[in-house]
């Protein structure tokens, strides 16, 4: 069998970061080596994702791992939806990695940033504690060396969750990325991060347990956890049991995606982490939850009107409660965290309508929101670095002090609010169109709610813009040092802003691709066909022959 087929690409986004993480951990004393490994690994992932996006256009690419055929073995499936999510997330991860590396390099030289200041304090404490310890022993204790391995494991977990063709593997993917996120969120172990981390970890643990229980119940009800097989079997089981399982899965994913009323943990925990970590969490982690909802709702379960109505109501509540929370904040990071919650509502709106147009719009919106939200958080990291604070009470006059920064903030902020012709506007128009086409009273309520939320988002970000950039500095405190922001940090941010703008330019082809992804996600046949070619009961793999030999056993 030729090892270099399209299928070779499928496991790469999971395997490469995992191996690179091990290597980076082994080489934790050589910072330069760690950096090179991380950048190379994530670049390979980006390249593999591009390949998968192209390959998946004609139909899902499935791979049975280890030669074990599909329903018995674990398989990875890259359909257009998964491939698109994978591409966006890997680009975002690469940008954030470059940004954090520049931050680390700049900070190890001199200036202030929370992450390295903690490390400095810890180092001083260690020196005071044990002045005779050698430098190597001390460096082992310092928390900085684990950033790269953990970040790579996060990347592997995200990729695994997107590619999983198996409900249990999806659970494992979630656990990989969550475990990495616990470490990243509590990096340095300061008082504030431990406080925020406690809430985050406990909530995430609970959602994992709920998810695992749901997987167990799915297995009890259908005898399989393979998604392609579930797509065939779940419509046939008792509707009551199915509804229970579906609700349980939605509960688990709802916590991860931060849907109201399960969203209270998010604005509490995200803002305390270092800026690049917050950026990648805000961009990716909730979207993995949204992806899981999209996947289970479209592929596994047949349409269910009650649940769709419930989801619509929840989407409306998420939008409005989230954005009203954002309006009350005076810290830019918290403000953005609340807008993040609010805009999850748009995606759930698209998923809940469950038509091809709405699903396509939701997919487009997810892609847009990942890039824009991450870009905004990176810009806020730059603001924090420039002014030493993110409180709107103390910020001011940045438009004259740092005009480049002002542009970097303004473009994604307007994009988030949905100002035409940017991609946020296009995604929202798609959702509104789908809502109007649906025509029910609830859908109209959602349409109105979306517009109101969009306007309130504009209000919130314009307030932040006015206060931080436009108005003069509130008190006459001395200006920060005129030392420029490091290019290594500005570069990736600008690149991500450019990506978000290019989504607008390339909106036509992208929207077509999203429509195709939606079509394939809603129509389970192509997915099942990819996993079980020609209607065979098993996928491709050598285990076929083994089980044929021992045919007397259970199927």
């Amino acid at each position: 069998m030729n090892p270099w087929t399209v299928q070779t690409l499928v496991p790469l986004p999971v395997l490469v970061p995992l191996f690179a993480a091990g290597l980076a951990l082994a080489l934790h004393r050589y910072q330069r080596a760690q950096r090179i490994i991380s950048v190379v690994a994530l670049s390979v992932v980006v390249a593999a994702s591009v390949g998968l996006v192209v390959a998946a256009h004609d139909g899902p690419v499935a791979l049975d791992l280890g030669g074990w055929a599909a329903p018995v073995g674990v398989n990875l499936v890259a359909d257009p939806l998964a491939a698109l999510m994978l591409l966006v997330s890997s680009v975002v991860l690469l940008c954030v990695l470059l940004y954090s590396m520049a931050q680390g390099i700049a900070d190890s030289n001199d200036r202030t940033a929370p992450a390295s200041k903690d490390a400095e304090e810890l180092r001083k404490a260690l020196e005071a504690q044990d002045p005779d310890a050698d430098e190597d022993g001390r460096r082992d204790v310092l928390p900085v060396a684990i950033f790269h391995p953990t970040f790579l494991i996060l990347a592997a977990g995200v990729a695994d969750a997107f590619l999983a063709g198996d409900l249990f593997n999806l659970y494992v993917g979630f656990e990989i990325l969550l475990a990495a996120s616990y470490v990243l969120l509590t990096l340095g172990g300061t008082s504030e991060r431990i406080r925020a981390g406690s809430v985050y970890v406990v909530v995430a643990l609970l959602s994992s347990i709920v998810f695992l229980l749901a997987v167990g119940l799915v297995y009890a009800a259908t005898g399989t956890v393979n998604m392609a097989q579930l797509a065939e079997r779940l419509p046939e089981i008792d509707p009551g049991v199915r509804l229970g399982i579906q609700a349980l899965l939605l509960l688990a994913f709802g916590i991860k995606a931060a849907i109201f009323p399960l969203s209270a943990w998010l604005p509490d925990s995200y803002p305390t982490a270092p800026a690049p970590v917050t950026a990648v969490f805000a961009g990716l982690l909730t979207k993995v939850g949204v992806y899981a909802i999209l996947r289970t709702q479209t592929l596994l379960f047949p349409p269910d009107e009650t649940l769709e109505a419930v989801l619509l109501v929840l989407a409306l509540a998420t939008m409005l409660v989230g954005i009203l929370g954002a309006v009350a904040q005076d810290d830019v990071k918290r403000l953005l965290s609340f807008t993040l919650v609010s805009h999850i509502g748009y995606m759930i709106f698209g998923v809940a309508l469950a038509t091809q147009a709405s699903t396509a719009a939701a997919i487009f919106y997810v892609v847009h929101h990942i890039t824009v939200q991450t870009a905004l958080f990176l810009v806020v990291g730059l603001i924090e670095r420039h002014s030493g604070t993110t409180s709107l009470d103390r910020l001011g006059g940045l438009a004259t002090l740092a005009p480049g920064l002002a542009i970097l903030f303004f473009v994604p902020a307007m994009n988030l609010a949905g100002i035409p012709p940017l991609s946020g506007f296009l995604g929202k128009v798609g959702l509104l169109e789908a809502g109007v086409l649906n025509g029910s009273g609830l859908a109209w309520a959602l349409v109105v709610g979306s517009v109101v939320t969009s306007l309130l988002t504009l209000y919130a970000v314009v307030r932040a813009w006015n206060k931080a950039f436009w108005q003069p500095c509130p008190d006459d405190r001395k200006l920060p040092d005129p030392s420029p922001l490091p290019w290594g940090m500005v570069g990736p941010t600008a690149a991500l802003v450019a990506v978000s703008v290019s989504l607008t330019v390339a909106a036509g082809p992208l929207y077509d691709y999203a429509a195709r992804a939606a079509y394939m996600a809603l129509d389970a046949r192509s997915y099942v066909e990819a996993v079980f070619p020609d209607g065979a009961p098993r996928g491709t793999g050598t285990s076929n022959e083994v089980t044929d030999d021992g045919e007397e056993g259970p199927p």
Binding site: R195, D330, L392, P472
Partner: protein
């Protein structure tokens, strides 16, 4: 095809229920150690539920071995094994976090969000969340400004003496 008896044992079901009830109760506590114990109980309850989903115990599931009775379902046990490993790792992490919290604060209780409390207090007082120069009292209100500003387009009012009109276009 040999079909296993899939009716789960009542005692095990009851055990799952008790584990979940105790786990949820502990999860609602503030102390991280208790939350952790709750998580362990919930995890064990879930694993037991998956075991039940796999049906009754039988012969070892090895191809080719002919034990004369139905094999037990290996997939459920494989899933439990995976989830036990994951739970173990997470328990270790939460223990480390609880210890760190104890190091820092002398206790391991989950605390309220200060920022959230502050904003809630502002909301009760009906105060703005930050000072905005548009919202600040700038000395003159809009009405005062309107009186002070001379409208050059409008015709001069013959009754009012211009000198009583305040400063010109200050």
């Amino acid at each position: 095809m040999i079909v296993l008896d899939n009716v789960p044992s009542g005692a095990l079901l009851l055990a799952v229920g008790v584990l979940f009830a105790a786990g949820v109760y502990l999860l609602l506590e503030r102390s991280l150690t208790r939350v952790l114990l709750g998580f362990v109980l919930l995890g064990n309850g879930t694993n037991l539920a998956i075991l039940l989903a796999g049906g009754r115990a039988g012969a070892p599931p090895i191809t080719g071995s002919d034990a004369g009775e139905p094999m037990s379902d290996p997939l459920a046990q494989a899933m439990i094994l995976t989830s036990v490993v994951i739970t173990l790792a997470l328990v270790a992490f939460v223990l480390a976090m609880a210890y760190r919290s104890w190091q820092l604060h002398g206790h391991d209780e989950v605390q309220d969000d200060l920022e959230d409390t502050r904003i809630a207090r502002l909301a009760v007082e009906d105060a703005p969340s930050y000072a905005d120069s548009d919202a600040l009292e700038s000395g003159t209100t809009l009405d005062e400004e309107a009186v002070a500003t001379r409208d050059e387009v409008a015709l001069p009012d013959p009754v009012v003496d211009p000198r009583t009109r305040g400063g010109d276009g200050s």
